[in-house]
């Protein structure tokens, strides 16, 4: 797992931009304001540097394809590689995880107080999660909201479904609702696959990492 410093820095941003391919530069231009441009360029350049090393290829041979729901995968000379990775960023922090397959997901979110956390939670949390959120108040509600958010988003990113799978259709493991920092997890719609979910959060930022546990036969 790598941390990417997303603090504004003109020279680093210019160098990062120089590592992007034409498609990525076009995307960079489509971001309407500087902050998402900076996050994209710095995270993508860090991803490129790490993948080029892991795949033993030069940066210009590397490109990215996208799954049905937008999850990126690495291509070398236009051919898909098995290298797995996932990226998340929030504020001035980017996180990148790597694995030998693409069944991994990471999420980081700053615990910013905001209006109507219960209302937002009603769209994405399951019954037990909503009940716990309703019982919490003040800073504990903020903490819980983002803890749940990061865990559920890490899971749907690992699955590759994004929000095509409504996050209210599953709940994080009971042990983690009770405070455990990690647990095994199974999606209700695909219980044969087992995932490992880890809460990486600290006081200011919620973060979580999920990966699929290989089957005993290695699948």
């Amino acid at each position: 797992m790598f941390h990417v410093d997303l603090t504004p820095h003109a020279d680093r941003e210019a160098y990062a931009f120089s590592l992007l391919d034409d498609e990525e530069k076009a995307r960079w231009h489509r971001f309407p304001v500087p902050a998402p441009r900076r996050r994209f360029a710095l995270c993508r350049a860090a991803l490129r540097a790490n993948l080029a090393e892991r795949l033993a290829c030069s940066n210009d041979r590397l490109s990215f394809g996208y799954g049905e729901y937008g999850k990126p995968h690495a291509l070398v000379d236009g051919r898909r590689t098995p290298a797995g990775f996932n990226v998340s960023h929030c504020g001035r922090h980017g996180l990148i995880v790597f694995a030998s397959n693409d069944r991994i997901g990471i999420d980081v979110a700053e615990r910013n107080p905001r209006r109507d956390l219960d209302g937002i939670g009603s769209m994405v949390y399951g019954p037990t999660e909503r009940r716990l959120l309703a019982l919490a108040a003040g800073s504990r509600k903020v903490h819980l909201f983002f803890r749940l958010w990061s865990m559920k988003e890490a899971l749907i990113k690992a699955l590759g479904s994004g929000f095509s799978l409504n996050p209210s259709r599953f709940e994080v493991p009971a042990a983690m609702l009770e405070g455990a920092r990690s647990s095994e997890f199974r999606f209700p719609h695909a219980p044969s696959n087992c995932w490992h979910l880890i809460d990486l959060g600290e006081h200011r930022f919620a973060a979580a990492f999920a990966y699929r546990i290989p089957d005993p036969d290695g699948a």
């Binding site: 309407p32 937002i120 994405v124 929000f163």
Partner: protein
């Protein structure tokens, strides 16, 4: 400009920190908006237009213009 577009512009100003006036024809995926903000925004859209969009429904809208078209069609 439609009243729907005006109302969405107001909701965006109140709930999304885009940093500039929204481009209704730009790809939502290139807006730089976080997933938390996106879900919070669609919750506001549901309330404002009496809709019941779920998170997975929101993926159908590539641009804000497509959301305007959807809302106007529902209003019939």
């Amino acid at each position: 400009m439609s009243s729907t577009q005006d109302r969405l512009r107001q909701l965006i100003a109140e709930h999304l920190d885009l940093g500039r006036d929204p481009d209704f024809d730009a790809k939502l995926g290139d807006s730089g908006v976080s997933s938390v903000d996106a879900v919070a925004f669609f919750k506001e859209v549901n309330q404002a237009f009496s809709l019941s969009l779920e998170p997975e429904d929101c993926l159908q809208f590539g641009t804000l213009r497509e959301l305007v078209t959807y809302i106007d069609a529902r209003a019939g």
